[in-house]
């Protein structure tokens, strides 16, 4: 969209640590406009911490973060608020507000940022967002406690899409889903990102998700992004962790699945 600025997110020199434990050390990362970037790494390599840092839930000890060309670190509250309405975040468990129905959950960001939309339009927007996220129509008036794990994730996605964001953060969207729902979620994310022109920052452990949805993949290890690129580029890397990850039994199985169904790539 912005020709002068090809990167939706630009992270430079981020350092994070908890007590003695160093999580990120001078980490750099670029997310291009309109791409789906998968972020992978072993447990405890700070994938979620990186996301929390980018969306401003956590203050890094050093480094800078630019989103849509605007400096996020140390920004004044107004700039930050302005940026916040341009992204949506889906947390691992959905993080729905338990006292509100699914549709009301979707309306929360709308009410917060655009209170004078009018109740009718607000209800209509919530309704089509719920359906767009792949939920059945009768899920609208349900409370989060009545939903299954997969539906909670979809409701979380609907809320993340409420403001028509340009940038979407997804934290392990397919973790804990059965393979059929996970595959459906993958294609949902892919088609939404293509239709809405979304940039997606996607944390995952799921190799199938990487093959099915991501344009590029960033690998987190040794407190840094050790490699970033398309899957074929990563496959030829000689870093031992990347080799184990993609050429291990599960990695090969996921790759074989793509080879069996090459139509998915189209």
């Amino acid at each position: 969209m912005d020709l002068e600025n090809p990167n939706a997110i630009r992270v430079r020199g981020i350092t994070n640590s908890f007590g003695d434990q160093l999580v990120h050390d001078n980490l750099d990362l670029d997310v291009h406009n309109g791409e789906i970037l998968g972020v992978v790494g072993g447990s405890g390599t700070g994938k979620s911490v990186l996301m929390r840092t980018i969306i401003g839930l956590q203050q890094p000890q050093a480094g800078s973060i630019e989103i849509f060309g605007e400096l996020m670190t140390g920004a004044d509250p107004e700039t930050e608020l302005d940026l916040r309405r341009r992204w949506g975040v889906m947390f691992q468990g959905g993080a729905l507000f338990s006292t509100l129905t699914v549709a009301e959950n979707v309306q929360v960001p709308l009410r917060e940022f655009y209170p004078d939309l009018g109740p009718k339009l607000m209800d209509e927007i919530a309704a089509y967002k719920v359906l767009m996220a792949g939920l059945p129509a009768n899920a609208g008036p349900k409370y989060p406690a009545e939903l299954s794990g997969g539906m909670k994730k979809r409701a979380g996605l609907a809320r993340a899409l409420a403001l028509d964001p340009q940038l979407l953060f997804l934290d392990e969207p397919t973790a804990g889903l059965d393979p059929i729902s996970a595959a459906a979620f993958d294609s949902l994310v892919r088609s939404l990102s293509r239709t809405l022109g979304l940039t997606v920052f996607l944390i995952t452990h799921d190799l199938d998700t990487l093959y099915a949805t991501c344009d590029r993949v960033a690998v987190l290890a040794d407190h840094k992004v050790i490699a970033i690129g398309t899957l074929p580029e990563l496959l030829v890397s000689d870093h031992p962790w990347i080799q184990q990850y993609f050429n291990g039994p599960r990695g090969r199985a996921a790759m074989a699945a793509v080879d069996r169904h090459p139509a998915k790539e189209a």
Binding site: E104, G118, Y128, A145, L196
Partner: protein, 369 residues
């Protein structure tokens, strides 16, 4: 860059044309939807060629207008077409809130639910008590199965760590009783009876009762929260599959701790309250400590102490039982732990006070006045 979402009406030969312009995005809508509602006539054509950005909200509004009026869409960019297809596909009636029954029916329904719930709780408590008795019997036959470590650990949490707060509370209550009693008794010139008041009310009633309320708040809630959390994380199911009885491992140690420690804490609370009252008598009423203690010996019958000490273990058992029972009832989500913890404390205090009333009548009837 052009500005906010806007439109002009243009009436030509084929009827009204609405020409949209600007950014049809959520951030730039302003009062656009409301003005669009007030169109002078139903348009025959909607022209989107002036639109330079559109999102799903804009597409939705345009789509709805076109559908309502049957107008033709012209000049839509590829983006706009794609988005309008997307929202058209997602067009189904979706309710936002569940149906609410009328207030009258709701009130009746809530009363019914509450009644059912209290019966269920009562039955549940009694069957839980039965389970505890069965587990106790098997422990009595097999005393080596009793987890002494767990019991001692509970002793510390329920008793030793509560000494500070219970002492402070009792001390202040002693002072308040002495001060309020003195003000009233002064009117009859009977300030010296303040000693009777302090001595008897603390040993007989307040020492144990206030301790029970404090233990319910401190330990009853902790029992419910701990066991409830263990229920959520499936620890209790894991115990059962390994063959460990959760009643034996979790409930009995807590019950024992509460039963053994309540009399000790109650006695301690009564002592501290008497100390507080005595201090007030000395400072304010000028009754020297020696006289105070002598009077206490004269006016407090030994039965008063027994009344307090006999009630205490029963209260302890009630508190531990409701705490553990409510913890065991947790299912579903973390919110439930909070709700169950609250009801554990409320029920424990309520039951303690009801039982206290029974005890009061009972002890008076058997002549321990």
């Amino acid at each position: 860059m052009t500005g906010m979402a806007d439109f002009v009406e243009d009436s030509g030969a084929h009827g009204l044309t609405v020409r949209l312009s600007g950014r049809l995005t959520l951030a730039d809508l302003g009062d656009f939807p409301r003005r669009l509602e007030g169109l002078s006539a139903s348009p025959a054509e909607i022209d989107l060629s002036g639109v330079d950005r559109i999102d799903t909200v804009g597409a939705w509004i345009v789509q709805q207008l076109a559908e309502r009026t049957g107008a033709r869409l012209t000049g839509a960019s590829a983006d706009a077409k794609r988005l309008m297809d997307l929202v058209r596909a997602a067009e189904t009636e979706v309710r936002v809130r569940p149906d609410r029954p009328s207030p009258a029916i709701r009130v009746i329904g809530e009363i019914g639910e509450a009644t059912l719930l209290s019966f269920k709780t009562l039955v549940g408590l009694i069957s839980f008590f039965g389970e505890i008795l069965i587990a106790s019997w098997s422990l009595i036959r097999n005393p080596r199965r009793l987890r002494m470590n767990a019991v001692v650990h509970r002793f510390e949490l329920v008793g030793v760590k509560a000494l500070g707060i219970i002492g402070l509370m009792s001390f202040l209550i002693g002072i308040v009783i002495a001060q309020q009693g003195a003000v009233q008794l002064e009117q009859f010139g009977a300030e010296v009876l303040t000693v009777n008041l302090i001595g008897r009310i603390t040993t007989r009633e307040l020492g144990v009762l206030m301790t029970a309320i404090m233990v319910a708040g401190r330990s009853g809630s902790a029992f419910a929260a701990q066991i409830g959390t263990m229920k959520l994380t499936e620890e209790i199911d894991a115990m059962r599959t390994i063959g460990v009885s959760p009643i034996e491992a979790l409930v009995i140690p807590r019950m024992l701790a509460a039963i053994v420690l309540m009399p000790l804490l109650g006695f301690y609370a009564a002592l501290v309250a008497i100390f507080g009252g005595g201090l007030f008598c000395w400072v304010s009423l000028e009754i020297p400590p020696i006289t105070f203690v002598q009077r206490l010996q004269e006016v407090i019958p030994l039965t008063d102490l027994w009344v307090g000490l006999l009630k205490a273990p029963v209260f302890g058992a009630i508190i531990a039982m409701t705490g553990c029972f409510q913890g065991m009832q947790v299912s579903g989500n973390a919110e439930e732990v909070g709700l169950r913890t609250t009801s554990a404390v409320v029920q424990a205090i309520f039951l303690v006070i009801v039982l206290d009333a029974f005890f009061a009548v009972f002890f008076t009837q058997i002549g321990w006045i």
